[in-house]
Symmetry: C2
Amino acid sequence: LVNTFSAYGKAVEVRWAGAMEAAKYGALAVLVRSMTGSLDDYPHTGSMGYDSSGRKIPAFALSTVASELLSKTLESDPTSSVMLESDCRMLPDADSYNVIGELRGRSPERGILLAGGHLDSWDLGEGAHDDGAGCVQAIEAVRLFKLCQYRPMHTIRAVMFMNEENGLRGGKAYAEAAEKEQYPHRYAIESDRGGFVPQGFSFDVRSASEMAVFQGMRPYFSPYHSDYFFIGGGGSDIAPLKNTGTICIGLVPDAQRYFVHHHAATDVLESVDPRELSMGAAAMAAMLYLIDQTP
Amino acid sequence: LVNTFSAYGKAVEVRWAGAMEAAKYGALAVLVRSMTGSLDDYPHTGSMGYDSSGRKIPAFALSTVASELLSKTLESDPTSSVMLESDCRMLPDADSYNVIGELRGRSPERGILLAGGHLDSWDLGEGAHDDGAGCVQAIEAVRLFKLCQYRPMHTIRAVMFMNEENGLRGGKAYAEAAEKEQYPHRYAIESDRGGFVPQGFSFDVRSASEMAVFQGMRPYFSPYHSDYFFIGGGGSDIAPLKNTGTICIGLVPDAQRYFVHHHAATDVLESVDPRELSMGAAAMAAMLYLIDQTP
């Protein structure tokens, strides 16, 4: 599939449910071929689930090259065996926190515009694309406003959410706290699809008429090839805000290379192109500006 | 500038004419800050010119990091000196060749469709993006036709031009030979902007009405975000074919990272993403197919 997120969405069920399904057939463990289009030596990890009633068998992430080798080995000798060793275990929960920065609006009663990403990441790499990029872009969007000496009408918040990868508790806690705030969250933009060249935005709206105001902004993004606007999810961390009436928006970058690095040891700073990252931040800032300017 | 080719086009005059201009003021040599948006340690080379009447002084490519250091050093101590040493020299011309592959058409009298790139590259790297990518994509486009068992009406030629970087003699010789061929070259597509995600095509046509037939093809490319079609140059190597009436087309990839590697030591295979490269080849094949299908 050209859309790598669609490909991931359809394939990831194997990782999520593999252990559950294999356990039913008496498996002792599962080896999960990594969810990447790239043929390399890097295992890609990610969340998986257990049936409350079934046996909990261990799951191991295997690189695509190792998976190919394993398949070929089993073809030539179906009696081959694999030795597995792991020291993975669940540790008790520990406190962690969302991190929030704010640029106060001139008319704070107009509400809050949120730009965000998530702080946590899988342990194999640094989480540079997933989602250091989103965190940095949210901060950069606010910095760009200050640089331009633009004082927004709305209060702009840069929010780095905690625990996206493993329970979404930062996003849920944030939405709960937001309900008790004096001013509502009008719009929230999340960047959680990598620090690549921006292509546009997805809007979590219910109808074409709700989209009309955003479609009117497209010409401002066309010169930058960032005018691919469509109805779709905004982002995991901001999704809980929907219950309070917030319109959620996702920054949509080109994602052809995203799953090369996703949840793997190569998701490090060196894999992020500074110019591509900056362009995403600028797109996010431009969207916040246009929303701020819209009565 | 968001369009890195426009930025390059406006900045490169400094490299091209720097030695000429500096010589007028008595300079012994010029140091040229590399034509890249990236701050790194890689000098980027490229063509430069001499006035037939002026002194020919040497020009040295300097990395952006080294250029920043030099500027700072000169600010703090204007009497600083630089030692330059080079063993560069012009060697006599030697024979080299264009390389051509052909898939014969079912109706060869309808003419030739050309897909091409150039074989030569600057010596610091491997020329993987500039222009190994274009060569591989031209071959791949023909391979895709064979894979689909599609026998085109037109003859399809994959042409790897020689000497793009230093005189364009491959392109000129090819156009001269093409004039003497039995069947005309109807359309030529060149890929010489790197092996990145395709965004669309530039069409070397003279009017909006000539563009109309191509604009009609846009919906086929929209699902792949490759439908950015505009009037512009096709490519250096194929440009000489214009005199014979060939319509020249350029494959236009996203070029945000192109000048990171352009004419530098990092323009190597590892800098090319196989998926992005393949998408460009597929876009090129799709364009050839649509042209072949158009009466």
